[in-house]
């Protein structure tokens, strides 16, 4: 949980929630007796709209919650999933905790880095793929486990991973693999690819 510095960027465009996003936030604020509880949900919504969290996002959110931007920054840097820089259209999160390591996560990571042409912690030049090493994803029975955007892919092998990546590159729908299969449809790796198809 490294902090780093507050990203001052004067040139940056001003961020404001889109009307639907703002309405969604108001609905969420209504769930709690204390407004501040909706701060992290607000950051999630902002990240969805903006891709990642910038200083103007934090300033806007700080105004809504009547706290200082530094206070918001303190929260943002505490949470691994709140991003202060862009990630790929397909953010490939590979678990490298013990159960997955025992089942070949190391070899899988090295394969992915080669296949995608990008190292863990980096985003590919075309913005298509990024890789992040994760702590336990809570799916260790399906090790090694990879999460692409929202969706889980369990019991991954280099071959299975290749097929998924190729399909994503072709803009195809890729359903999750493992227990996520039983969930109501969402906006995971699948949805990003679907959007592409629509374009």
């Amino acid at each position: 949980m490294s902090a780093g510095r507050f990203p001052h960027s004067a040139k940056e465009e001003r961020f404001e929630f889109a009307p639907e996003a703002r309405a969604e936030l108001e609905r969420i604020i209504g769930k709690y007796p204390v407004k501040r509880s909706a701060l992290i949900p607000a950051l999630w919504i902002a990240q969805k709209q903006n891709g990642y969290i910038t200083s103007s996002v934090m300033q806007h959110v700080a105004e809504i919650f009547d706290v200082s931007p530094m206070e918001v920054w303190g929260v943002v840097t505490f949470y691994n999933m709140l991003k202060t820089g862009p990630v790929g259209e397909f953010h490939v999160q590979i678990c490298n905790n013990l159960s997955c390591a025992l089942m070949g996560a190391g070899a899988l990571l090295r394969h992915l880095e080669k296949r995608l042409g990008v190292k863990a912690g980096e985003t590919r030049g075309d913005g298509k793929f990024s890789i992040e090493k994760m702590e336990c994803l809570g799916a260790c029975g399906g090790a090694p486990c990879v999460q692409i955007n929202e969706d889980y892919f369990e019991r991954m092998t280099p071959e299975a991973m290749d097929e998924i990546i190729s399909a994503l590159e072709r803009g195809e729908y890729v359903p999750p693999v493992g227990a996520d299969e039983v969930a109501p449809p969402g906006e995971g790796a699948a949805a990003a690819a679907e959007d592409k198809v629509k374009e």
């Binding site: 949980m1 769930k31 007796p33 204390v34 501040r36 509880s37 909706a38 701060l39 992290i40 949900p41 950051l43 999630w44 919650f65 303190g74 929260v75 505490f78 949470y79 691994n80 999933m81 709140l82 999160q93 490298n96 905790n97 013990l98 159960s99 997955c100 390591a101 025992l102 089942m103 996560a105 190391g106 990571l109 090493k133 994760m134 702590e135 336990c136 994803l137 809570g138 799916a139 260790c140 029975g141 399906g142 090790a143 999460q147 929202e150 969706d151 889980y152 999750p176 227990a179 996520d180 039983v182 969930a183 109501p184 969402g186 906006e187 995971g188």
Partner: protein
């Protein structure tokens, strides 16, 4: 010896509906006995009697500490004003993956459990804190909540009983420490997930400074069954009156069939591995098992096959480990114990919230020293340094993450000291660093 040893009932409770693909939908849940327990008690049974029922079932928390559930509820003062339930669905303890499937495969069972807990304690608002990565389980619970609201099982004046209760989901954003109950409450209040000094405990002063119950998903998922079938039935499953019911053992690593196994409390670890998981993969020999998530001290093959350690809360505590979160990580003879310890040390270093210098610095040192040993650059003093760090990391901090890290590495160093020494002497991993991730 306990009379029940030969006759542990193999009955599934919380995963009984897992094979039924209709179970996540409200129709499927209702058709399989769902929402019968709340009909049985709402407006009909005194909440105090519900607490007594749960107490006499012997149900202990499945989140990590194994604290008796009914007893925890009874600490909440009767005072007027809002009280809260925070459902711990942060599931981040390495090796643990049961709450995810409980939410995906039977979300209404969790909702009914939440309703029972709230009724018993007099709570009208519950928040399900779901780890940020669990988008799909979050959707499953949200959909189930929408259905339950539509049917009048959640919301105002439930089933005409006069009891009202709202349930909300709340997504985390990626921080293991938010699974610690007071870190969770801070996070739910929109802050960094810094654990709070205790006392006061959440039962007295929790969410928004109000009395709050924190319970794990699996704990709550048991409640409808206890209400329906009675506490004696539940207490009849498991090895003794302190270890009742089942656990969702999350078995990962080098077994033939990794996965979730709901089994009565009190089986031996050998039985779980050999009889249920198909034994060690590829006919290899077992080396070690972490029996209850990364924080639970590692066990050796001798403890498992010769001493036949049992997987209930108290038997594991007696051998210096713990039942923890139910995460069983199995390692065969190809595993390097220095590497395994190093991997977990880096996990604790990464997840320390940094409030306590002992934990912040200690986890960092441990990760650095074990990392050095892994790389074959260790010196003989490293082991004695590790020995001396251990006691300082225990009992001195705001939460027990620091203790967990100390318990983890000291068990590895004590039980597999020869492997650590060999790394120092040879300057290289004798097994060739097999699982570098």
């Amino acid at each position: 010896m306990n009379q029940r040893l030969d006759a542990l009932v193999l009955e599934k409770i919380v995963s009984a509906r897992f094979e039924n693909s209709g179970a996540p939908d409200i129709g499927g849940y209702e058709a399989n006995g769902g929402y019968r327990a709340i009909r049985k008690i709402f407006g009909k049974v005194d909440p105090k009697d519900v607490i007594e029922t749960v107490k006499s079932s012997g149900l202990r928390g499945r989140g990590g500490a194994g604290f008796p559930c009914g007893l925890k509820w009874s600490f909440v003062p009767q005072a007027a004003g809002p009280k809260y339930l925070a459902v711990n669905a942060d599931e981040g303890e390495p090796g643990t993956f049961k709450d995810r499937e409980l939410m995906l495969r039977d979300p209404h069972q969790l909702i009914e459990g939440i309703l029972i807990a709230c009724y018993a304690v007099g709570i009208e608002k519950a928040y399900i804190y779901i780890r940020g990565e669990f988008a799909a389980p979050g959707r499953a619970v949200d959909k189930a909540l929408t259905e339950a609201y539509e049917k009048g099982y959640v919301g105002r004046d439930i089933l005409g009983s006069g009891f009202s209760c709202d349930i909300y989901t709340h997504m985390g954003a990626g921080a293991y420490i938010c699974g610690e109950e007071t870190g969770l409450l801070e996070s739910l209040e929109g802050k960094r997930g810094h654990p709070r000094l205790k006392p006061p405990f959440p039962a007295i002063k929790g969410l928004y400074g109000r009395p709050t119950v924190v319970n794990n998903v699996e704990t709550l998922s048991n409640l409808s069954h206890i209400i329906e079938n009675g506490p004696e039935w539940f207490a009849g499953i498991g090895i003794d009156e302190k270890n009742t019911g089942t656990r969702m053992y999350c078995v990962s690593g080098h077994v033939e069939r990794p996965g979730l196994y709901e089994l009565p409390l009190g089986l031996t670890l050998e039985e779980i591995i050999e009889d249920h998981c198909g034994g060690i993969r590829d006919g290899k020999a077992l080396k070690a098992v972490i029996p209850g998530g990364a924080s639970a001290p590692v066990l050796t093959a001798k403890e498992i096959y010769e001493d036949k350690v049992r997987m209930d809360f108290d038997a594991l505590a007696r051998v210096g480990s713990m039942g923890g979160s139910g995460g069983v990580i199995v390692m065969d003879e190809t595993t390097c114990m220095v590497q395994a310890a190093g991997r977990l040390a880096r996990f604790f270093e990464h997840e320390s919230c940094g409030q306590c210098s002992v934990c912040r610095e200690g986890t960092g040192w441990v990760a650095e020293i074990i990392g050095r040993l892994e790389a074959g650059k260790g010196v003989p003093d490293d082991l004695s340094t590790l020995d001396s760090i251990d006691p300082n990391m225990r009992g001195n901090t705001i939460c027990v993450l620091s203790d967990a890290c100390a318990m983890m590495f000291s068990a590895f160093v004590k039980k597999f000291r020869d492997e650590f020494e060999e790394h120092i002497q040879r300057g290289v991993c004798p097994l060739g660093s097999p699982y570098t991730a």
